[in-house]
């Protein structure tokens, strides 16, 4: 070894080199994050779906996944290339993904969507709901025809609470409001801040629960919490099969806070070919609340796979 190479790493040149390496390694992620954050107002900058493929997304609860499967299989039956992105998350997330094009088709509920887009809107008819949505909807997106099938959020009390406060199927949310200071309310984390949630319950019915427990989207946590009386009332889907099983009582919503909740495909205008639009409208025409309840029961009670249930319904409806 000659003496010049002896101190390779402590020569000034190499100190600089070292500094550069460290700087580069630490700065790279920072730079990356800065550029992507400053570039777009909307942070959900996921890669666009492959051209020609329709991406069917769904929210993170079983019924949404099931309807997503129905949409997807119906499109496939028309020879359209479909890929699924099921079980994504909440509307707050999925709406963004529709806007940026990483999802093409999403099962939605018109009332809930409107409440998300315009918390102050209070339409009294299904058509008014549809037009209110269209007014607020991102120009890249559109609603197809709503199905007759409805699945609402609902304020449901467990059996013991119903007995305690003498609540029956004829009682309204306003009847519960009197006891608000004594109940713990359960629901999804997002329910707390939504118009179709605690916000609306307070403004429409004056219901302010003693406390709120963030659970899941009408899923097992919510059901368990109701059954164990961890919460006395909760937001739970009106199509949930456990309501009847556990003798829970769903309170009436005379002010239509949870509005019209028809199942409706929310799609990207450019992503779906016309035959796809036709296929989804055909599905909506035949999708009834009873059909939804049946299918939910098959998934939840009979542990059938939602995709199989979807395929079976499509073929029985002559769409598959």
């Amino acid at each position: 070894m000659n003496s010049q190479r002896k101190n390779t790493w402590s020569s000034p040149r190499n100190v600089r080199l070292a500094a550069v390496v460290v700087a580069a390694v630490t700065a790279a992620p920072l730079l990356a994050s800065c550029s992507s954050s400053s570039g777009s107002k909307d942070p959900l900058a996921a890669p666009k779906a492959k051209a020609g493929t329709v991406v069917v997304g769904s929210n993170n609860f079983p019924e949404s996944i099931l309807i997503g499967d129905i949409y997807g299989e119906a499109l496939k039956a028309k020879g359209i290339k479909v890929s699924y992105k099921p079980n994504i998350g909440t509307r707050e997330t999925t709406y963004g993904m529709l806007k940026n094009g990483s999802v093409t088709v999403l099962p939605e509920y018109n009332g809930a969507l409107l409440a998300y887009l315009d918390p102050k809107a209070a339409p009294t008819t299904a058509d008014a709901t549809a037009s209110a949505i269209t007014a607020k909807l991102d120009p890249k997106l559109t609603l197809l025809n709503p199905a007759p099938a409805e699945d609402k959020d609902s304020v449901t009390v467990n059996a013991s609470t119903a007995a305690k406060y003498h609540l029956t199927a004829d009682s309204t949310i306003a009847d519960l409001a009197k006891y608000g200071g004594q109940i713990t309310f359960g629901g999804s984390p997002e329910f707390q801040k939504r118009q179709q949630g605690l916000v609306g319950l307070k403004s429409e019915y004056g219901l302010t629960p003693k406390s709120y427990k963030a659970l899941d989207v009408g899923g097992p946590l919510t059901e368990a919490a109701l059954k164990n009386d961890n919460v006395q009332a909760a937001d739970i889907f009106s199509t949930d099969v456990t309501i009847a099983q556990a003798k829970m009582v769903t309170l009436k919503d005379p002010k239509n806070l949870f509005g019209f909740e028809n199942v409706v495909p929310l799609v990207s205008k450019t992503g779906l070919p016309q035959n796809g639009v036709d296929a989804l409208n055909a599905v909506s025409a035949k999708l009834t609340t009873q059909a939804l309840l049946d299918m939910n029961a098959q998934v939840q009670n009979d542990k059938k796979d939602p995709l199989a249930v979807a395929k079976a319904w499509l073929s029985s409806a002559g769409l598959g």
């Binding site: 800065c34 954050s37 909440t90 984390p189 963030a214 097992p220 946590l221 961890n230």
Partner: protein, 223 residues
């Protein structure tokens, strides 16, 4: 900067400073979960680690157990305990947190005692110290920095992982993250993350202070 903006939004929101969803209340919850989990894990891990380290027995069983405990996915265990126990109290959350914390405490304690210079231990036995005296008067004082290191590492992981308790409707700083994700309010997510990271760093500081207090200067060597 995006993140700074979020932080400003989060911390300047007066609603985040009081009430059930206020930072002080969430901090107390987070500390409570972390402290209970750490205490249980220490109650399990320290005696076993001290005993096995002192006797030199059970090293293989211990490392196998620790590998197993580390291998358990905390989040999966949380969900599993929730559905199995069918309740929403703190118990389902404690089990994964304890499982997470036991391994580092156990293994570090064992290794710490094992790595004590054998010469003073030999000298202590040779001068007629009882086995317990050797352990508590010679081995533990010398191994204390390492044992504290194990507890600290467990505490950091517990503080950081206690966020997932929010997934099963518990409180703590995880609430901000889970709720922020669900309602797409990123200020809450970033705020929650910063709070958790800050708490973890505070934990490091706490253990440093404990070390200054309880470790003999002869072991610390004045550093």
């Amino acid at each position: 900067m995006n993140i700074l903006h979020f932080l400003n939004t989060f911390f300047s929101d007066g609603a985040n400073w009081h009430g059930q969803n206020g930072i002080p209340h969430r901090l107390l919850e987070h500390l409570q979960y972390s402290a209970i989990a750490l205490a249980i894990a220490a109650a399990i891990g320290l005696p076993i680690g001290l005993f096995s380290g002192h006797t030199g027995r059970g090293g293989y069983a211990l490392s196998a157990f620790a590998t197993g405990a580390r291998a358990l996915p905390s989040f999966g265990l949380l969900v599993l305990m929730t559905v199995w126990l069918g309740e929403l109290g703190t118990t389902p959350a404690m089990i994964p947190l304890v499982a997470l914390a036991v391994a580092p405490i156990l293994v570090t304690t064992h290794e710490a005692i094992r790595s004590v210079d054998p010469a003073p231990v030999d000298a202590a036995r040779g001068m007629g110290m009882t086995s317990l005296s050797v352990l508590f008067q010679v081995e533990v004082p010398v191994a204390l920095p390492l044992i504290l290191g194990g507890l600290r590492s467990a505490a950091i992981q517990v503080v950081s992982t206690a966020t997932i308790a929010a997934y099963i409707s518990l409180g703590g700083f995880g609430r901000y993250i889970i709720d922020g994700l669900a309602s797409h309010t990123y200020a809450d997510v970033v705020g929650g993350a910063v709070l958790v990271a800050g708490l973890a760093l505070a934990t490091i500081g706490l253990f440093w202070a404990i070390g200054r207090l309880v470790v003999s200067p002869g072991v610390r060597r004045g550093c």
